[in-house]
Amino acid sequence: MAAQGVAGVGVRSTANVLFVLPYMAVLAALLIFPLGLGLFLSFQDWDMLGGWNGSVGWENFANLFTDKIFLGTIRNTVLFVVMTVPAFVALGLFLALALNNGLRRSVVMRTIFFGSSVLSVTIVTLIWRLVYLPDRGLLADILGLVGLPSIDMVANESRALPSVAIVTVWWIIGLPMTLFLAGLQQIPAELYEAAALDNASRWRVFTSITLPSIRRTIVLVALIEVILQFQVFGQIFLITSGGPNNASRPIVQYIYEAGFRDWQLGFAAAASQVLFALMLLAALAQFWFARRREAA
């Protein structure tokens, strides 16, 4: 038994609690409390102007799921995630593979690809509005060069969401690329040398050595991107404002408008809970899938 006042591994002391207290306090104040408050609000009729009008039970949720616009935002958000996340994983991995060498030009290219990530959403959308500008934008110029007519990307219902997805991938492809680069650089060079002596083709090396070695990174990138892209808002708000005809309106925009335009805090909180549940489901599904693959 440890004597009183002796510190060491396995020695229990109430003083130890003090070390985690600052962290726990911040966690409680900035995460646990707002989470609880949000959950509470979602069952209330709380108008920012009119004040609290009592608990309404599940009414906010019932209203949400009968609102065609809200259901449309779920569809749009899920579609957006489905468009962007695989692109982030595939393109990020492709760039990392192409630039995973010590060549000077690769270092320059890495910096360029990462460079756009530091731009603010306003700058990014400004750049892409210039690209998408019908008849005069860069896209129209390029199409004109090969003799094709200009396409209106943003104002078209079926093209609005994909065009924002392209902007998003262009904007923050740097992070997945960097994560994949870090993953690739963890693979010992000896494994590739052993594979070369084992007559492995490039494809075989990729599927049998590289991919299995960075499986955790793939899961990580997918998870980060799912969580990020479910919360898409800024670029859509600035490029399409959710239009045309709600074709690109995401959940977060719906929450924003319900809470800060219509002042319906309780209703907005309920929509936030739905988004939270969706993200949780997607993350859990990935964990489950990754773990199953690992066990296999």
């Binding site: 010992p188 040398e193 002596l197 007559n199 050595i209």
Partner: protein
């Protein structure tokens, strides 16, 4: 004369069946010349050990044979076929890496099968080879495990197994014992020697550990600064080192060196007169000793206590079966000599030492050994 590799020449092993042949091979990394114009023959069935200090180019040489580094010049032949421009997989070599380089997400069996599957070997043949290798290396019970579930020694065996199943023309070992603890290293040395006898395969083993080299090699290739210092059997390089570098690198403790004040001749043989006046009658013909600065080399076991040079004991190293005694001569030079394990000695005790002249070596100013008569 000991078989010393001529950097530009061939070794006297041309009668053996063709094994590995390096001809005027060179390798530069930027302005650093890792290997300079090196030629070497390793006959088929030989266990050759490339021995040298870190950075001497031994691993680079091995990697050039494997195809993992491209030589800047020269030719590499294996089994009569030129291989230096072939991809690693087509050379007929198998390599055991320092850190084993097992594929971590594959089972032991998959690790061993991987190379064979890649060249389209038939499933029944793969199964036979894996079973044979597993039996030989006693890893049959580990086949379905992954590398992370194995101990260092087991991983080592799997790495060797992965090489064996390929039935290569030559096995290349890149310091594969350096990650094992002392006891396991000693055991693996014996197992590798046994494996070599059993398979009669050509093996090239790279190490900086002279004990590994001495215990396993058919021939040792001692390297220093990208050049071959000497090629010979373990006893040859120990008994008749071709250079002062070899003499100091091989053997524990390192050979003692004493400056020779002047040389005399007695019955045609050189007599080294040391600074302290001691006379050492060597078995080296006086004619073989060039003019200029000469150094006497003498191993610890060839210094006999009793009479001769006066010295004082400074350090006593008890190794069990023998005792290494570090002494300082009256002229300030230090020597190490051998005593039996139970010798009664004290620090500060005066001793007298006489070198066995017949076992003494003489090195010229360039560090080259003066040829001794065969003993």
């Amino acid at each position: 004369m000991p078989e010393q590799a001529d950097q530009n020449g061939q070794l006297a092993h041309n009668s053996a069946p063709p094994g590995l042949s390096l001809r005027h091979v060179g390798k530069r990394f930027g302005s650093f010349e890792a290997i300079s114009n090196l030629s070497l023959e390793v006959p088929e069935g030989e266990f050759a050990v490339f021995l040298g200090p870190s950075g001497c180019g031994k691993s680079t040489l091995l990697r050039m044979v494997a195809g993992l580094e491209a030589p800047n010049g020269g030719e590499i032949h294996l089994g009569g076929r030129r291989i230096d421009s072939l991809p690693p997989g087509d050379r007929g070599v198998a390599m055991v890496f320092q850190h084993y380089a097992l594929y971590p997400h594959m089972t032991v069996r998959q690790n061993m099968e991987f190379g064979l599957r890649n060249i389209g070997t038939q499933a029944t043949e793969i199964a036979r080879r894996v079973a044979d290798a597993a039996e030989m290396l006693e890893i049959g019970t580990l086949l379905e495990r992954k590398p992370a579930q194995l101990s260092g020694g087991q991983r080592q065996r799997v790495a060797i197994g992965r090489a064996i199943v390929k039935e290569p023309r030559i096995f290349l070992f890149d310091e594969p014992l350096s990650n094992l603890d002392a006891a396991l290293r000693a055991r693996t040395r014996v197992e590798l020697a046994r494996l070599h006898q059993r398979m009669r395969a050509t093996m090239v083993f790279v190490t900086h550990d002279q004990v590994e080299a001495m215990t396993m090699a058919t021939r040792i290739v001692v390297m220093n600064r990208g050049r071959i210092e000497q090629v010979g059997t373990p006893i040859e390089v120990y008994r008749r080192p071709a250079t002062r570098f070899v003499a100091s690198f091989i053997g524990t403790p390192a050979m003692n060196f004493l400056p020779v004040a002047r040389l005399e001749e007695q019955a045609g043989m050189a007599v080294a007169v040391l600074a302290n006046g001691a006379r050492v009658a060597t078995a080296i013909p006086a004619a073989a000793v060039p003019a200029g600065e000469v150094t006497l080399g003498i191993r610890a076991e060839d210094l006999h206590p009793g009479s001769g040079m006066a010295a004082t004991i400074e350090v006593i190293e008890r190794l069990g079966e023998r005792t290494l005694v570090h002494v300082r001569l009256t002229d300030g030079a230090t020597l190490i000599y051998d005593e039996p394990g139970d010798a009664e000695l004290e620090i500060g005790q005066p001793v007298a030492l006489s070198p066995d002249g017949q076992a003494a070596h003489l090195f010229d100013a360039d560090g080259r050994a003066c040829a001794a008569e065969a003993r």
